[in-house]
């Protein structure tokens, strides 16, 4: 179906990898194939997205947040302190980005306006939900979405390759 690419993009917003989004799309098709034909008839697109939304929310509740943390769990490493200066080893799956690229990422975030930077850091880097970010910052959830979105636009413009 020609909707498939759109659905994969839809799922990709919350899954940790493009492959996981493909898996969800596949699962959606299996679910839809199992429905009686009459159920889908009057507005198929609306129906498909209703099922897709439920599927995604169920399956990926907190997954994006967990992904940020999972990296940490796997890379967890205790270091005995000799003094205050201790080198911290990066987690294995974080080696993916080169040092130079990491510097670009850090600089780009550091130069965001303060509120945008804080919202983006809490949500994307610390893994807080929109609601938790809003509570921490003492602003509304809508404002958090606005800040994170503005931050993402800025970062995309700077960092897209």
């Amino acid at each position: 179906m020609e909707k498939r690419a759109n659905l994969v993009r839809f799922f990709a917003a919350r899954t940790g990898s493009p492959a996981a989004a493909e898996d969800l799309a596949q699962e959606l098709y299996l679910k839809l194939a199992g429905r009686p034909p009459g159920e889908v008839a009057d507005n198929p697109i609306a129906f498909i997205y209703r099922v897709a939304t439920n599927l995604m929310v169920d399956r990926t509740r907190g997954e994006a947040r967990a992904a940020a943390r999972d990296g940490q769990w796997r890379g967890a490493h205790a270091t005995v302190l000799a003094g205050q200066e201790v080198a911290e080893e990066p987690a294995a799956d974080e080696v993916a980005s080169s040092r130079q690229r990491l510097r670009q990422l850090v600089e780009a975030v550091a130069e965001l306006p303060p509120q945008m930077q804080r919202a983006f850091t809490l949500h994307k880097l610390e893994g807080l939900s929109h609601a938790d970010t809003a509570r921490t910052m003492g602003i509304s959830v809508k404002s958090v979405e606005k800040h994170v979105s503005a931050a993402l636009k800025n970062l995309t413009a700077r960092l897209s390759r």
Binding site: F10, R69, Q72, L81, L102
Partner: protein, 326 residues
């Protein structure tokens, strides 16, 4: 259509969609609107893909970027470093405020918090940090100008500490101090046994009050176990729900001695649980306990360690079964 001429608008919309689709309250109305947006212009999909790819990259490198941000020292804040380092990020405009603020800070005072058996309590501190106290917990909080200090006398709490590089957050628990900058972690001190579990950020555990031993730096997913008065400490891997489950009425253990489980349960229930002999108390326990009724929890626990229970005085005693299953 708008192809090419409204590049900025398209990028704004693309970022909005990435964020909206990740929102807690996503609905199928959003999903349909997203589909329509993709459909409206062939270039929209590419803009969305670019924004999502950047979002992903940050997620995958979250920890390294956080560390990079911490280590980064913007030159303009050097003026403030030292005395007013905590306000550095606020930049030049804050300079005036930084000079005024210390005079307006209230005098340092200490507040004590305690929970009774079976009671949970969440405390929000003036600096934005949050402490979830488990049952049977006593601690006191002192928010000073140069450091934030908590003394954990007994019990267990999850700390969600607001980042403030100029004011470290210190928790003293017996002969160890836990030092933190901004993170989330669980500290448990019951009957002279300390455990610290980190779920986010980095925490240091240091010998304190003249005690001997090594200092440790803990990362997310790690737990430190320490017996007071002993020089050493063990660091092991721990799942987050092991440390934080109690807040949702779930106690999670992996290879913890029965004595630890019983100490936790005794903080929840009025009728004390006792363990008859030391060998049984040392039996390792792994499992998840839903904290519902005490009778039910004790029954499940007894099954798990092949013990039987007898009522004793005001509580219940766990006894090793005569014929332990092999």
């Amino acid at each position: 259509m708008t192809a090419g001429s409204h590049y900025q608008d398209r990028m704004t919309e693309a970022a909005d969609w990435v964020v909206r689709l990740q929102a807690d309250d996503l609905s199928d109305v959003d999903a349909l609107a997203f589909d329509a947006w993709l459909q409206a212009d062939a270039d929209n999909a590419a803009a969305y893909d670019a924004a999502l790819s950047v979002s992903r990259e940050f997620q995958a490198n979250a920890r390294a970027v956080r560390q990079g941000l911490r280590e980064r020292r913007p030159p303009r804040t050097l003026v403030l470093r030292g005395r007013y380092g905590a306000f550095g990020a606020l930049a030049a405009a804050a300079l005036v405020a930084a000079v005024v603020v210390p005079a307006m800070l209230p005098a340092t005072s200490t507040t004590a918090y305690a929970t009774a058996t079976g009671e949970h309590r969440t405390v929000s501190l003036a600096d934005g940090s949050k402490i979830d106290l488990n049952a049977g917990t006593q601690l006191s909080v002192t928010l000073g100008r140069h450091q934030r200090q908590v003394a954990l006398a007994e019990g267990q709490a999850v700390f969600d500490v607001t980042h403030d590089a100029g004011r470290p957050f210190l928790i003293t628990a017996g002969d160890r101090t836990v030092r933190v900058v901004g993170t989330q972690f669980d500290v448990r001190r019951r009957a002279g046994h300390l455990s610290v579990t980190v779920t986010r950020g980095t925490v240091e555990v240091l010998p304190t009050g003249g005690a001997q031993g090594q200092a440790f730096r803990l990362h997310p997913g790690q737990r430190l176990e320490h017996q007071e008065g002993v020089q050493g400490a063990q660091v092991m891997a721990a799942a987050p729900e092991q440390a934080l489950g109690w807040r949702a009425g779930r106690l999670v253990y992996r290879d913890q001695p029965l004595s630890v489980v019983v100490a936790d349960l005794n903080a929840q229930f009025a009728k004390p649980i006792r363990v008859a002999d030391p060998a049984l108390a040392a039996t390792p326990v792994s499992g998840v306990f839903i904290v519902d009724s005490e009778d039910a929890v004790v029954r499940r626990l007894a099954l798990l360690v092949s013990a039987h229970t007898i009522p004793s005085g005001d509580g219940v005693t766990l006894l090793r079964s005569e014929t332990p299953k092999r």
